[in-house]
Symmetry: C2
Subunit: 460 residues, 2 copies
């Protein structure tokens, strides 16, 4: 086994960092509580999340301040007063407040280099009192603080770092991977980083079930991985984990256990250059089309599903047009650009295609069909004819689809639709890879598209 | 209705023709019977078939002489003595004898311009005594002579001519259409040419049943059309009729009844020229590949099924290679050349293609797969990789298949296989249509491929 201690030294926050982030968190809580007191608002700020649990990776101490209101507070009052307190607090410490909506509204700001979220919630003591999705965070934090041994914190950090570096960490839509709380529960279940990997490598398969508190409710869920929430027996903590990311983690765990290398805890060293990428694409003998357009100004968790849905719909339309798609992917910097990649196995087809009509014995419909298609003929006892395709090459089909009229066929979110109709670029990847001004991130995206395993397997 | 009498005048044999063919038939029978008598062979020649029934079309009086042997004759003796008598008879009248095997051996020759077949058979009185397939012909001829009114002979001639001209006449493999005996039974059933057409146009559909002698055995058969043989209740006279030709006749009948035109009784006037054909193919935006090779010296009824089987197998191989086939057809002059046509909807595809491996959870096989394909990746929970296609364009796939090794993948008869491996030509139809020495018949084949309905519908 490799020296995990030396890795821990780099990923565990220093005493200094711990003191700083805790002091600053306390300062923010004090500000909120004092303001609430002054304004006569019945609310209390508490520190939750990874900083409260002591499970953040060095330099990534995101501060989650939850502002608890009594359960009988109205939703409107909770939202107005909670957001108001958060915004004011951000102003006091000289940051810029940004209001956001996940399933629940909150304010966020970058303060002293920390990402700080202020989240209004209800002050609940058990899941029976749950009034909004974020209330559970109180119970989660309490549960981990109470159950996770200090020594196990290190195991969580190793697992979190490993997951980050192999690309399976994060339950947001962009990733569809493992949430931080889920990692902590896995360490509680298996005791150590290594035991989690051993279980994933050897035991996990779709439908695998973990029930720490032995509620016996695992059969309620049909997700790839079931981890019953210790604070809410009716919830699967792994509900948002995709089979893709579960599989990838299993593979990474197997690869690591077989050849444990420190490189699994660091980003892969990419050597991306246009010439290699061009040669890779040339060797595949495919035609790869890049569709690029401006990113709409919507939250990340709304943007990524819209892009994925659009990509999936485009693939389906291509295949229905007899253009076989070898692979597809998408990328966005979430600010300026969205890129959808379609790698075609077939990109040019005949102008005419066969179209089946009624049976010969259905004389009434057969007659209509024959009148409409004078060159129709019989195959077996079925009327057949040739009809002209609207598009006989992949690019013209895409151009036809991405018009105000054509786009009605695409399952695409309204924000993306607007941006696409405003302007989009259609580029052959071969042309892109000789252009001067290609962003490094786009090249990395192409590299990752061609080498999908580079995160999961570290040969050096 | 059009003037059927004027058509009849052209297709009905003249009195002179009738006398000549009957006299010649009697002369041949006399020769055979005299020889048999001299050689002490217990056999008797009789005239059967359309000449005996009086249902042949003017100028097409093929003479069928059956040489009947007593039922207790051995098969060997029947064959040796029967063929011997036939051959000698042909020599006596100065023709060239050719021995043939259908389901049964016979000798054939062109004598005084008539195609004459000498067929050894058993002298049976009912189907219970059937010893070979051809014995039934005796009973068929007797049944028609006994039941077909002289006036109905004209109806048979009209139906036969109509069927010939729309391309549905002939039960041999090449056509898969209606046998002469079947036409006669249809006239017995429906009384007239026109009533046969009305029934086909309005009543027929797959599974339609005719049982002239009311045997009640129609449920024994599952063919598209069931016509119980009046002389053998266990046989469907329409067994070899394909659903294709049944459908085509139905369509031709509908077209004729809607717009009765004399042209249905004559060959369509084809105006075939290379420029039009080229333009037709260009407008389809397809790629049409012609495979041409020498015709093997085998009987027509063996050749056509082999060609069709080969064509079907080639289409399947193309489609399995992701090359979509829009249409296919074949042609042979039965002597020199066989042509197989493949019109491609997709003729160029990517060099690499996706190949699915085991599930991720099957770690043993997954590991093997990954070792074999280091660039493999995971989709959902399935291993995937790219593999190189052997052929990424349609022509190279065909060239690869038509080699001693590759041809093992093709379902092809041994005679065709031999000819193909000896030599074949692969020609793009565009190149063929600028060549100097294209046979007229090949051009007509291409024309018919492009205009499949020209026989069934006569707009002028």
């Amino acid at each position: 086994m490799i020296d995990l201690d030396s890795i821990l030294k780099q990923i565990e926050p220093s005493k200094d960092e711990k003191i700083k982030v805790n002091d600053f968190s306390m300062q923010l809580i004090k500000i909120i509580n004092q303001m609430a007191h002054e304004k006569g608002i019945n609310a209390e700020a508490v520190l939750l999340g990874s900083v409260a649990k002591g499970t953040w990776l060095a330099g990534k101490g995101d501060i989650d301040i939850f502002i608890k209101f009594p359960i009988n507070t109205s939703r409107e009052e909770l939202k107005t007063q909670g957001l108001e307190l958060g915004k004011k607090c951000i102003q006091i410490v000289d940051g810029n407040a940004e209001e956001r909506y996940a399933s629940h509204p909150y304010v966020t700001g970058i303060l002293k280099g920390y990402q700080v979220d202020f989240v209004p919630c209800y002050d609940i003591n058990s899941f029976h009192e749950l009034k909004s999705a974020v209330d559970r965070t109180i119970l989660h934090t309490e549960y981990i603080i109470k159950n996770l041994e200090p020594i196990q914190t290190k195991e969580v950090l190793l697992l979190k770092r490993f997951m980050e570096m192999v690309g399976t960490y994060g339950s947001e839509f962009k990733v569809g991977g493992f949430a931080g709380y889920l990692l902590e529960l896995l360490v509680l279940q298996y005791k150590s980083f290594q035991e989690v990997l051993i279980a994933a490598a050897n035991d996990w398969k779709p439908g695998y079930k973990i029930d720490l508190e032995e509620y016996g409710t695992t059969d309620l869920f049909e997700d790839p991985l079931v981890v019953v929430d210790p604070v809410d027996k009716n919830r699967n903590v792994a509900a948002s984990l995709t089979i893709q990311k579960m599989s990838e983690f299993t593979l990474a765990a197997r690869n690591f256990l077989e050849n444990p290398r420190e490189s699994y805890f660091y980003p892969p060293i990419l050597q991306v250059n246009k010439t290699d990428l061009r040669n890779d694409f040339i060797n595949r003998g495919t035609k790869t089309i890049i569709i690029a357009f401006s990113a709409p100004k919507i939250p990340s968790d709304a943007l990524h599903p819209q892009i994925k849905k659009t990509k999936k719909s485009l693939v389906k339309i291509m295949e229905n047009g007899d253009f076989n798609v070898l692979g597809s992917d998408s990328w966005t910097d979430e600010e300026k650009t969205v890129v959808i990649l379609l790698e075609m196995a077939t990109w040019s087809v005949s102008l005419l295609k066969k179209h089946a009509g009624p049976k010969v014995w259905d004389s009434e419909n057969g007659k209509k069909f024959y009148e409409k298609h004078p060159e129709a003929w019989i195959e077996g006892d079925q009327w057949m004819t040739l009809v002209e395709r609207s598009y006989n090459n992949a690019e013209s089909l895409i151009q036809g689809i991405l018009t105000p009229r054509g786009i009605q066929r695409v399952r695409v979110g309204k924000h993306l639709k607007k941006e696409i109709l405003k302007n989009y670029q259609l580029i052959d990847v071969m042309d892109l890879l000789v252009a001067e001004d290609v962003e490094e991130q786009v090249l990395e995206f192409l590299h990752h598209y061609l080498h999908k395993n580079e995160f999961l397997n570290r040969p050096i």
